[in-house]
Amino acid sequence: MSLLEVENLHRVFSARGRGGAVTAVDHVNFTIEAGEAVGLVGESGSGKSTIARILAGLERADSGTIRLDGLDCLRVPRTSTNRMTRAQTVQMVFQDPNGSLDRRVPVGTMLQRTLLMHGRALSKVQARAGAMQLLERVRLTEREFRAKPHELSGGQRQRVAIARALAVEPKLVVLDEAVSALDVSVQAQVLELLAEIQRDSGVSYLFVSHDLAVIQELCTRVLVLFRGAIVEQGETLQVLQAPQHPYSQLLIASTPGEGWDPERVVRDRMTFTQRMTLPGLL
């Protein structure tokens, strides 16, 4: 049995006043093994974040099942024990740490509270040691322990968000565009850190991004999402080098590099959209 099993996941958003509903997640099936990093790629509006948020319990699904380490992810947790269990199974790291860290609380205090609340530390002394350990794991120091989020750089803040996600030793961490706002050198450091944490702890990742190159750095397997449906999945290198679905081909050809021609990408995109609107071709 896989760590995460998603079956027939479906979610429709009703658009008020637009005369139509949007199918954000369209009968999606996938699995993640223990210790595996899986990428989820697609354009804006393809449903990437909706899937991520459903997994973390921030969004509901209309139908389908999600089993994560024996836990039914779609059942709304009614008691605080259930909520704690869920938090200890799956954690999420968002794109913007400014929005997910409390700006009034020093980083060390925040981590200590998390450890105490989840029973990962039984005394303040233990909590302090645990918080320092977490910070060291993301290569931060005593200085950052005392700092509030606004005193840190973007890369440091994102490391803090990762440290907090790891505090409860979750089975799965969902990273939603977690390195997209960082510039290339900081991005490379955070990706390396994520890979190292995974090797050491055996945690699984669902890594959501619109950037295939970043996914390829971290993930052995990739899921390609288009209009809410997974149109292709497989080993990352295999998908990159021999994409089967026209959308994966378009996505790969659109990535800037040597000989990149925006006019050609636009033409390809138009041809693709025309093909998509003709039924029976895909």
Binding site: S185, A188, L212, T255, P256, G257, E258
Partner: protein
């Protein structure tokens, strides 16, 4: 030259502190040229663009020179700055929502300065805006003009902002991470619009980005900025292939490359 910075330096000044952000920058953009400015966060990319527009007041101590279309910006009076911003240069930033008033209709936002600054009648302004919205690839431009920013997607809004930038017929465009928040296919569409408008209008463009692959794919020349210093200037056709400076090499190594070619 449309843009020429000569020994441009900038320090932020507060009561008890001076922080040096730009340290003697030299760069230029000619008509029809697409020039890249790359570097890490905090290297001074955006500060260079903002200084070129004369957007800093007393908080910054600026020395050296920036000339836009041969008009000096450093030390210019309000009237000159107004003329430069109204007729010579336009800025397109990363977040189009920050550039548009959320509670005004798009048509009203775009027409305002054409009427108030450029002396067009409202119907003339509207006709120009419709033509531009069409040119940047927006369907149903009359409807878009009646809509509010929240009703459009990020890619559509960025087109609106580009149309607004082009509406005053500037000669120089400053694009500050203008496509960084967009996904790859939308990014390609926006770049295609930039390139077409540059060709048609003989525009010059300073393209600020942290995406080295994108800069390498489209720019004629690239300045590499590090802590307020241009450490290397790369020319077509070699660009990054001929990068010598270790900082440039480190940036290139840090940027993930899509391994789409099968290794042989």
């Amino acid at each position: 030259m449309l843009l020429r910075a000569t020994q441009l330096s900038l320090e932020f000044v507060s009561e008890n502190d001076r922080v040096s952000i730009l340290k003697g920058i030299d760069l230029c953009v000619a008509p029809g040229e697409l020039v890249g400015l790359v570097g890490e966060s905090g290297s001074g990319k955006s500060t260079t663009a903002r200084a070129a527009l004369g957007l800093y007041g007393d908080e910054a101590d600026i020395t050296g020179s920036v000339r836009i279309d041969d008009i000096e910006v450093v030390g210019a009076d309000a009237r000159t700055l107004r003329d430069i911003r109204a007729n010579h240069v336009a800025l397109v930033q990363q977040d189009p929502r920050g550039a548009l008033n959320p509670v005004r209709r798009i048509g009203d936002s775009l027409a305002e300065r054409l009427v108030k600054v450029h002396g067009l009648r409202r119907d003339e302004a509207d006709r120009r805006i419709v033509a531009l919205l069409t040119a940047v690839g927006l369907s149903n431009p009359e409807l878009r003009m009646r809509q509010y920013p929240h009703e459009l997607s990020g890619g559509m809004l960025q087109r609106v902002v580009i149309a607004a930038a082009l509406s005053t017929n500037p000669k120089l465009l400053l694009a500050d991470e203008a496509t960084s928040a967009l996904d790859v296919t939308t990014q390609a569409e926006i770049i295609a619009i930039f390139q077409r408008e540059m060709r048609d209008r003989n525009l010059g463009m300073l393209f600020i980005t942290h995406d080295l692959h994108l800069a390498g794919a489209i720019c004629d020349r690239i300045y590499v900025l590090r802590r307020g210093v241009v450490v290397e200037t790369l020319q077509r056709p070699g660009l990054f292939r001929e990068a010598r400076h270790e900082y440039t090499r480190a940036l290139i190594d840090a940027a993930p490359v899509l391994r789409k070619e099968v290794a042989r």
